[in-house]
Amino acid sequence: MIKVKINGQEQSWDGDPDLPLLWFLRDEAGLTGTKFGCGQALCGACTVIVDKEAVRSCITSINDVAGREVTTIEGLHPDGDHPVQKAWRQVNVPQCGFCQAGQIMQAAALLMENPKPSHDQIREAMAGNICRCGCYQRIENAVHLASTGV
């Protein structure tokens, strides 16, 4: 039995230990905020925070996070008012919105590690997260805004 804490709640799994965390979250735990975009760590849509680090849940097995703490978009802030989320709304970042949970989790992890990233650092840190709609300019501005106070 694998035990993992997701958004502060203890969850357990006794199926395939190799099951990607992404599918555990979405299909077994019903946390559909985390998205599937590529399954190969190429797009960042599935990004969650494990302990304090952004990880791609599509290539992370449920076994890899046993005993660790996973935060998904649903658990980032109880009212959805994390500075990154607020900045996202202020800048009107999303178009279709599908990549945005991953983008937001990546940005939140970046700011934990580097509270005042430069524009170049933002562009580099966010380069693993594809937005096919092309919201990059606004994502960059929103991360900057979140880092300087919304």
Partner: protein, 770 residues
């Protein structure tokens, strides 16, 4: 021009391949049930409004009925239906916003509800062709004005005063003479009893009183949900007892399953079943390709099970499709005369006597949509009833196709439209929903069919592959006197009928025969091209290769004559006028030409605006270059300036992009900006990387590592969007698609300015590294 015997029931762009039209009578008959009323084409009378659109000619036309679209609750909450699909353009916000504006509703008290697929009830729902605002600005205003009038009438009756003395203002009806006020909620029950006013008698608001329209201060309705993970896309639908499926499909279009061995798959933990999926021969519009489905308790198990399947396929005739050889075929075809689709003067003769001929042959490979959300659908089929949840651009078409595929009446099919995680034309084709319906029927349980990214790339309805060859004849003063453009590409019509090998009218009308330059001798030709895979419309469609070719050629002419790009472009556009191409049945994006002519004054204006705002001619550092391009598509006018920087290793970056757009009367400039910013990214993606290639009939790319798209570290540093303020009564025109076509040629012209290298084959790939 094309060889379609039985076009069947076609939708959207396909409509232009077909003959059949929905009769007004059948619409009215259908509507008798709901008691609404329908506007047949034209949508509005010319006396009442300044322009007509093609909205009434779409399948099922337009429905203008406040009782269908608006509900007012006793607490004052106004619910407005969004009947078009949201894929990132903001339409789910902007159309209801138009209703709210006109009915004087307070936007903070408005809830938006997504309509299911029912075109008899709601009118056409095909969310494609950059049509929503252009077709629905007036109908949505009429719906809002009707609702407002009904509320005003109810208040006037309550107070026993003439209706002319009362006025709806911000969610209340006011009688200013007596100072009395009643909230919309208090009037809701009475207003519902009022008769719906006639459209002819409606009074629309004076645009100077607009609170929301044209202002851009309203955020999209889904903003909070998107940023908190609550927004519901196709894959986020979960039903009790739902199974998870992935499907192994024939690797070659039109291929068939020979045999399969499910044993290893069935041993995978979580896998419950392996079953065949019905397939249709190629081409058959959007019908599923068939294959083998793995059913499991979660998607991860289904994918792992599919990896374990042993499959043997018969590739069929398309197994001979090879992109390298096919490109040569296209090039050869472009060097010989083809079907003439526009002729003015005598281009062949003029090219012979020209002082100089500039020739360019431009190649653009297949492109995949790769919307961030891969295709996915949930179906629950019970007996002769089906319910679907899916991110589809055409809910009405999906409903028809599900009914046909399952052999049940359309009335028994409910299509719930989720948010779309991007569409770009891919999700106008509902094959994934049909697969889910077939599987659910056979399983007797709700099922979700999830496409992986590999599935998406391997079984897309790809953007076509093309060679555009242009020869421009110049006289001794450098004036262009002859223009011969041959466009060769497999047609979208080939997805609907075997053997279609010439462009359909709507493809010809996207940048080939509608070419706006003032040249005495013009010949546009369309040599044959056969299709070997499923071709579909991709954001901007044929405009991408055509603008790439035409606007690159402008740069080549500027170079050949030693003149400035922008001056060359303006000289080619010529005098301000309405262009009247000598084309039989010119396709004008489905719009009447009177309302939406090719107006070179507007074309010139966006060039001049972008040149001014984008500081054309500014000094740029060494290794940088500026390029410009303009293109009219989806009846909008767009010009783009790209500044490129190419370092000594040939690495390219884009410091700045400026785009000017004239899309007529607009609703939400903030969303126009986001569409244009996004179009620059999509344009840069296709220019740098875009290529789906075939070997032995199989797509060679698998995922975002070999079908790359632009990431943030290579995105333009800044994209500025300049919107032309509309003259009064200018009809609204497209926004979602037109931003893409001018980007690549502006970039190619910029690269030439920076490096002296002219790139004629996309993607750029390593061409600058040499």
């Amino acid at each position: 021009m094309n060889f379609i015997d039985k076009p069947g029931k076609l939708r959207g762009f396909e409509k232009n391949i077909k003959v059949e039209k929905v009769s007004r009578r059948s619409i009215l008959k259908g509507l008798g049930v709901t008691g609404g009323f329908v506007l047949a084409a034209p949508v509005m009378t010319r006396q009442a409004f300044a322009y007509e659109t093609g909205a009434g000619k779409m399948p099922h036309g337009v429905v203008v009925d406040p009782r269908v679209f608006v509900a007012v609750a006793p607490d004052g909450t106004v619910t407005i239906l969004a009947h078009r699909s949201e894929m990132g353009t903001g339409v789910r916000t902007s159309l209801p916003l138009i209703v709210a504006e006109e009915m004087e509703a307070d936007w903070s008290k408005v809830r938006v509800q997504q309509a299911h697929g029912d075109e008899v009830k709601f009118g056409n729902q095909d969310t494609d062709g950059s049509r929503s605002t252009r077709h629905y600005l007036i109908p949505m205003r009429q719906i809002g004005a009707s609702a407002r009038t009904m509320l005003e009438q109810a208040a006037a009756k309550r107070w026993n005063v003439p209706a002319t003395e009362v006025k709806a203002v911000n969610h209340e009806v006011v009688h200013s003479a007596s100072g009395r006020k009643l909230g919309f909620g208090e009037l809701a029950a009475d207003a519902a009893k009022e008769s719906v006013p006639s459209i002819e008698g409606l009074k629309l608001k004076d645009p100077k009183d607009f609170r929301y329209l044209g202002k851009g201060q309203v955020s999209i309705v889904d903003l909070h949900d998107i940023t908190t993970g609550k927004a519901r896309y196709g894959a986020d639908v979960r039903l009790p007892g739902m199974k998870y499926a992935v499907i192994a499909r024939p690797p070659v279009t039109g291929g068939k399953l020979t045999s399969f061995d499910p044993d290893a798959a069935l041993k995978v933990s979580g896998v419950e079943k392996v079953m065949k999926v019905q397939g249709w021969p190629w081409p058959s519009k959007f019908q599923p390709l068939g294959g083998v489905a793995v059913i499991a308790r979660n998607t991860g198990a289904a994918i792992k099970g599919r990896d374990a399947l042993k499959l043997v396929w018969d590739d069929g005739a398309n197994g001979r499709y090879n992109s390298v050889a096919y490109r040569k075929d296209l090039e050869e075809a472009s060097r010989k005369p083809g079907l003439v689709v526009r002729r003015e003067g005598d281009a062949d003769a003029a090219l012979k006597t020209a002082d100089k001929v500039v020739t360019g042959e431009y190649y653009l490979p297949h492109l995949a949509h790769v919307s961030m959300e891969p295709p996915v659908a949930v179906a629950d089929v019970k007996g002769d009833k089906a319910e679907i949840w899916a991110p589809v651009q055409s809910p009405g078409g999906t409903r028809e196709d599900v009914a046909k595929t399952l052999g049940i009446p359309e009335a028994n099919v409910t299509v719930n439209v989720t948010l779309l995680g991007g569409g770009f034309g891919r999700k106008s084709k509902c094959d994934f929903a049909l697969e889910a319906a077939l599987l659910s029927k056979e399983l007797g349980a709700p099922v979700k069919v999830q496409w992986t990214r590999e599935d998406d790339l391997h079984h897309d309805f790809l953007h076509t592959v093309s060679v555009e060859r242009i020869e421009a004849g110049l006289d001794k003063d450098g004036k262009v006197i002859a223009w011969r453009h041959r466009s060769v590409a497999p047609t979208i019509a080939s997805t609907f009928a075997a053997g279609a090998n010439h462009a359909a009218a709507f493809e010809l009308g996207m940048g080939l025969v509608d070419m706006p330059f003032e040249i005495a001798n013009i010949s546009c030709e369309n040599p044959e091209a056969a299709a070997f895979t499923r071709i579909g419309w991709f954001r901007s469609v044929s405009n991408i290769p055509r603008a790439f070719a035409v606007q690159s050629m402008v740069g080549e002419i500027a170079n050949a004559t030693g003149r400035d790009q922008k001056e060359t472009l303006l000289a080619l556009i010529g005098s301000p006028r309405i262009v009247k191409p000598n084309v039989k049945d010119l396709w004008n994006y489905g719009e009447p030409y009177d309302s939406y002519p090719i107006d070179t004054a507007r074309l010139r204006k966006v060039v001049e605006l972008v040149a001014e705002k984008g500081e054309w001619g500014r000094q740029v550092p060494k290794g940088h270059g500026l390029g410009i391009a303009v293109h009219r598509s989806f009846v909008s006018y767009i010009a783009t300036i790209v500044e490129v920087a190419v370092d000594d290793k040939g690495k390219l970056s884009v410091p700045r992009v400026d785009t000017a757009i004239d899309c007529g009367t607009y609703v939400n400039p903030e969303r126009i900006a986001s569409q244009i910013e996004g179009a620059a990214i999509m344009g840069l993606s296709l220019a740098k990387y875009g290529a789906v290639t075939f070997k032995d009939g199989k797509v060679q790319q698998k995922n975002f590592d070999d079908f790359q798209v632009v990431r943030m570290d290579e995105a333009p540093l800044v994209t500025n969007v300049h919107i032309v303020p509309p003259a009064p009564d200018t009809p609204p025109s497209g926004v979602g698609e037109p931003g893409v076509p001018p980007f690549a040629p502006a970039l190619m012209n910029a690269i030439f300015a920076a490096t002296g290298k002219r790139i004629r084959a996309l993607p750029i790939g390593k061409q600058l590294e040499a």
